[in-house]
């Protein structure tokens, strides 16, 4: 649960080159460096702690047979010194090879291709929901500052960020599946349900591409509850951020000037407050999105959602280093890309906004 906009500060550092292209190149390089930093930290920390990946992935009988253990270590390169393991990992990484997962015994890249879209799908829906609800509540909160609606929304959004996601998931599942029978159950599709042909890996999109509305409806009904549960935290964050950014802008001179001109309040809010605030809100939404990817661990666990979170959990308890690295890289890359994108966007829209935002 990091501050959702931690990266924003770095934008305020003075940039030595002033041109647009050098800026992009510099930011790109930093981003790539960051990704390598992530692999380095993941590798170091997972090596520093004790634990035996061999035991995690071999059964009791096999584990007692030194020959089998040696074969396993050789297969996954665990018999080599750590720095060499890391160097090899980097070498393969540059060629787009993330190694073989110790627990699933297949390329991590293949695993990620399968699990990442599942999480992406609920995270996208969650962010979409959070944007709509969060913006709305945030605006109401800001314009009714310190009055009753604001107080209520404030308590509401604080509650949103205070709910333990695993418990929310459990409670929602109990109510909507067990008691009311509205939610369809665990997983992404009905038992034996044929996933649509893979294009994006998002079942809803893929089923629409081939025009299979039955599957679309099914996939959508399965993802709704986990997505809503996931959205609750993001709604809390976005509501609070929207309120704060709007209040900040409301205090600006030009807003007062606009009001003085006698413009209707709705117009003032829409044109002079919401619009400038929107960009930074979207920034936060973007970063919140990448934290949702990681935060989905606890929610997926309850819904048996076959996504990145479940994969990360299995990799972690199995001390499956390539798996852990793979997940970390995906989430970090999304986060870094989001920031890069936003940085460039700011730069394109208005160089001066960097300072006022």
């Amino acid at each position: 649960m990091k501050p959702v906009s931690g990266e924003r500060k770095s934008r305020k550092r003075p940039l030595s080159g002033t041109g647009f292209t050098p800026f992009i190149i510099r930011r790109l390089l930093t981003s790539i460096l960051l990704v390598f930093g992530v692999t380095f930290i993941a590798f170091t920390i997972t090596q520093l702690v004790p634990g035996d990946p061999v035991a995690a992935n071999l059964g009791q009988s096999a584990y007692s047979d030194p020959e089998i253990v040696a074969a396993f270590e050789k297969e996954f390169g665990l018999d080599q010194p750590v720095p060499i393991q890391y160097a090899k990992y980097l070498g393969n990484l540059i060629q787009g090879d993330l190694g073989i997962s110790l627990s699933s015994k297949r390329p991590v890249l293949e695993d990620l291709k399968e699990y990442f879209p599942a999480t992406l799908e609920i995270a996208l829906v969650a962010v979409f929901l959070a944007l709509i609800v969060g913006l709305l509540l945030g605006i109401i909160s800001a314009v009714t500052r310190d009055r009753l609606p604001d107080q209520i929304i404030r308590v509401f959004s604080l509650t949103g960020v205070s709910m333990p996601a695993f418990w929310t998931a459990l409670t929602a599942f109990y109510i909507f599946f067990f008691v009311l029978g509205w939610a369809p159950g665990t997983g992404r599709l009905e038992p034996g349900g044929e996933p649509p042909p893979t294009v994006t890996g998002l079942f809803t999109i893929d089923s629409l591409i081939v025009g299979d509305f039955q599957t679309f409806k099914q996939a959508f009904s399965y993802l709704l509850l986990p997505a809503i549960v996931l959205a609750i935290y993001a709604i809390g964050v976005l509501t609070r951020f929207t309120r704060a950014s709007m209040l900040e802008i409301l205090g600006n001179d030009y807003v007062r000037a606009a009001r003085a001109k006698g413009l209707p309040e709705v117009t003032v809010i829409r044109r002079h407050v919401l619009r400038p605030a929107l960009l930074s809100i979207i920034t936060v939404a973007g970063v919140a999105f990448s934290s949702l990817l990681a935060g989905s661990v606890l929610v997926e666990n309850v819904f048996s959602w076959p996504g990145l979170g479940q994969y990360a959990y299995r990799a972690a308890v199995g001390l499956d280093l390539p798996g852990i690295m793979g997940v970390s890289m995906v989430v970090a890359t999304v986060y870094i890309t989001m920031n890069l994108f936003v940085d460039i966007l700011y730069r394109v829209i208005d160089p001066q906004m960097r300072d006022s935002a």
Binding site: M1, K2, P3, S5, G6, E7, R8, K9, S10, L34, V35, G37, V38, F40, I41, A42, I45, T46, V49, P50, G51, R154, V155, L158, T159, V161, S162, M163, P164, A165, F166, W167, L170, T171, F173, Y174, F178, F241, A244, E248, L293, A294, G295, V297, L298, N301, V302, A312, Y313, A315, A316, V317, L319, I324, V327, S328, V331, A332, Y335, I336
Partner: protein
């Protein structure tokens, strides 16, 4: 808790804090949990670990919140659970705030290369999915609440480092700092003695905002079986028992509510504290 209250009184903005109803509610809730935790053996109606023949008794007059699969009284376990969740969350925040403050102070004070290296490292940590790393570390160290605290500390310090470094840079630009430097005050002295009062306020507020998150992460790890060990009555692991037996709704519901109220209370306090601060620091905290 006492420290917190003292802090609130000393603060220049004390008046506004006490006028904030949310803060008052938050403080009352935390006070209640603190009292429950301290006097748990006397308040809890049953021994939290005593087992007997029955299991899964529904909530009744004898067992307000029912019993679990070993027929342990859930209400008693929740009260005893406060002795785990609250102190360890506070410890976690204290550890990561200290670590982050030291690193941030060094970074801000040293400037130049050291600063940019440290800041790149915090960048990496921000990009890192903290819970994944925490899971891996907790799993490898062996699940103990102590190890979960270590695991989360490793991922939680950069927030403080970033804040302290920023504040330090601001402070450095103040004239009196420069004057100190010219007068030859030792670097260490400037770092520790003179910056401290300027930093403690914001760091404290950030810490108070983070206690809730710490509790959520710790109980999340326990929920996954990577935190507290049985038979400890940790709230997160109690919820995971509820997940296994979810048609016995009381098993998971009440421990979850305990987490929610405690986290909410800390957030009420932190949020109000932040609002009470001057707007510039408040903004630094929000970012």
């Amino acid at each position: 808790m006492l420290l917190l209250m003292k802090k609130l009184k000393r603060s220049k903005n004390t008046n506004s804090i006490w006028r904030q109803p949310l803060a008052v509610v938050g403080i009352l809730i935390i006070l209640t949990w603190t009292i429950l935790a301290i006097f748990a053996p006397w308040i809890a109606p049953y021994n939290p670990n005593s087992q007997d023949a029955d299991k899964f008794l529904t909530p009744s007059a004898a067992h307000w919140m029912g019993t679990d699969e070993l027929n342990r009284d859930i209400w008693s376990r929740i009260i005893h659970g406060a002795r785990i969740s609250l102190p360890y969350s506070l410890l976690l925040v204290a550890l990561s705030a200290t670590l982050g403050t030291i690193i941030g102070a060094i970074s801000g004070y040293a400037g130049g290369k050291i600063d940019s290296v440290i800041m790149r490292i915090t960048d990496v940590f921000f990009a890192f999915p903290g819970i994944v790393l925490a899971m891996a570390v907790a799993a490898a160290l062996g699940p103990q609440i102590r190890n979960a605290v270590i695991a989360v500390t490793i991922v939680a310090w950069p927030v403080y480092a970033r804040l302290v470094r920023g504040l330090n840079l601001n402070a450095k630009q103040n004239d009196y700092e420069t004057a100190y430097a010219i007068l030859g005050s030792s670097a260490l002295r400037t770092l520790i003695v003179d910056l401290r009062p300027n930093l403690s306020g914001p760091v404290f507020v950030l810490a108070s905002l983070e206690v809730g998150n710490a509790l959520l992460l710790l109980s999340g790890l326990s929920f996954l079986g990577l935190g507290a060990q049985p038979p400890a009555a940790e709230w997160g692991s109690m919820v995971s028992m509820g997940a296994v037996n979810f048609d016995r709704w009381w098993v998971g519901l009440f421990p979850g509510l305990a987490i929610l109220t405690a986290v909410l209370a800390f957030n009420f306090i932190g949020d109000s504290l932040r609002d009470a601060l001057d707007p510039r620091t408040a903004k630094a905290l929000r970012d």
